[in-house]
Subunit: 209 residues, 4 copies
């Protein structure tokens, strides 16, 4: 009976992108609220202020890490949406689920930053990244199967997008597995993978120039 509605609902890629950008923007700035200026009563010299700022540096690092993680998945989602001619209701809901996980990411990052020696915090963080990757993979499968992609898309793009997610998630899973030995190995490996996604292509290009 309401088939007709399901056919017409959620077709705008632009609106999906705009909602995504809004949620990413809020999620990316959420942890900045934890950076509070030191209380003026506790600071009596340049040295005191320096120490107060140093005490804030773990939070700043955690914030940077959360920003980078979300940046990676923002680029990933954007790449997919750029190739969509239109959306449909199912795809919209996959992305709403994706955005839900996006908004949880600052919490997972803060949890891991607060409890870096705890396996539960690491597994929670990894599950978060796994869900982000799964949602994007599922979204792409849905989009290509239902014919939502643009006609002018080069034929090797779908495989490249899938391969990228699978390789990334394999690396993250391997990193998470390292927590059997030590959670710090896991964290270092995962951060290294993320830095690689964010910075590496630029470095590689700079070298080859």
């Amino acid at each position: 009976m309401n088939t007709s509605y399901n056919v017409i609902a959620g077709q705008s890629v632009e609106r999906l992108a705009a909602l995504s950008d809004g949620i990413f923007a809020v999620a990316m700035t959420l942890l900045v609220l934890d950076l509070r200026v030191p209380a003026i009563e506790a600071v009596h010299s340049e040295h005191d202020l320096w120490r107060s700022l140093l005490a804030l540096s773990p939070r700043l690092l955690m914030y940077m890490m959360s920003f980078m993680t979300l940046g990676i998945f923002w680029v990933g989602q954007q790449t997919q949406l750029n190739y969509l001619a239109r959306a449909d209701r199912s795809l919209s809901w996959i992305h709403i689920a994706f955005l839900f996980v996006v908004s949880i990411t600052p919490f997972s990052t803060a949890l891991l930053a607060e409890f870096p020696a705890y396996r539960i915090a690491l597994v929670f963080y990894w599950l978060n990244i796994l869900l982000l990757g799964t949602a994007l993979y599922f979204s792409w499968v849905c989009a290509t199967r239902t014919g939502l992609v643009k006609n002018e898309m080069p034929p090797d793009v779908p495989a490249a997008i899938k391969r990228r997610i699978v390789i990334g998630q394999s690396l993250y899973a391997f990193g998470a597995l390292l927590c059997i030995f030590n959670t710090y190995w896991s964290i270092m490996f995962i951060v290294f993978v993320q830095l690689n996604y964010a910075i590496a292509p630029r470095i590689r290009r700079a070298i080859s120039r």
Copy 2:
């Protein structure tokens, strides 16, 4: 005297959509602020951390529920706006009223999650959903009557949009009525209806494939 202004004001569907996406993005991420990382003093073992996270799970569920409710009405509003050629001042104000109720939704959800056994919390939540539906219905009536819709809109779309709202709101009202017996029956029924809107079409399609 100021007729002329009323004629020219509020015509941009794009701006209305952008404001909506912004308010939806903030409203959808508002409850994530209630997810706080457990205090490091209270956690001395993996077991402690696990219990602290379990204690957070009702908030996480409540957040998910709020996200889903807003997702449903975001898709609903988007479907309407996609068919509008332009807006006018009255339509803009109906949507500003709609967005006001959108921004209240996290509060209603949190209220119901905190007091699931209280009829007042349930009625408040239902009134919230009723107002969201009413605003969208009223907006559609206004848009079709004033000729703001696109010419290329298929002729069966207006009826489909109205039917959808009426059926949805009837189900929600029936769910709310169940609180005469037990508020938990109401909640389960309403969540079931919402899950149906979010997930069902995808499942149905997956089965029929």
Copy 3:
């Protein structure tokens, strides 16, 4: 020397509109953070919950008032931007100043709602509205003088936009003046003017139909 930069800077109306929508969205939802679910310890019956919610109603009203005020100026700004072919650096800065006042508006509203009997609160609120109107007026003068408006704009639009701001601000100023007698008269008058802007055209049309 840097003339060239000033000529090329800040030309995108779309970006200006997007920043505006973002800031309006955050400002409009800011006061919703003050709506907190009643503490579960204080509530032992439906009656308790009802009273707790009643105790929240002034905040809800205040929030509604802030939302409406910002809605009025969002429609006003949008109407102007719709007629702009492009922006320039000066215009961008007028709107950045406008957005600054927009982001202060929830504070002014909360101040007036907390201290309705105090003239300073009323004058602060009125200054806020005055600055919003002045910025929009100044922006329009700048846009029409510098030739940033679209060619296809009907010739009576500039006067209509200016007239609207002058009439509105005159009414607000008259309302503010009433505080010589009683601040409550001022508040009632100003809220009446605002309701008139938000609802009246729709009612008038409904009657004339």
Copy 4:
């Protein structure tokens, strides 16, 4: 192996602009959360309210300063993006780094406003501005070298954009250096430079009219 993905990722200037506008909007309104309405218990007369509001004025000023700083860099980023035909993955990541610094800016401003006599606060603030400028400069170098700019761009634009950043950053650096004598001289000089960017062209034009 994943070259193909790097080629297709992060190409949308529109999405980059939308994420930027979202993050700027949140960052610009962040400090408004520190403006809290005075407690009703502490206010017994118009005079008390006046004093409470005066006590808030440093925060308001600090907020204004943060808003202005971010406004300057928003205009700067927008000017660049307007000339881009498309983005690529490296450029996207430069801008994500830029946005990270943007979101830190309210913190730096608040720090300097709280500790105006401390050199560390001043150097922190200056480093913030330096990083913003460096990111924009690096982004422009990357965009022009990789051929991401629009073909119809006037030939003197690239030099104008670079010159602007270099001149601005030189002035800021000179201002920061003044802290050898006195941090207040630095602050006054920097605020003067910023006011010059925000207001001056309009004044100059008004005079030459």
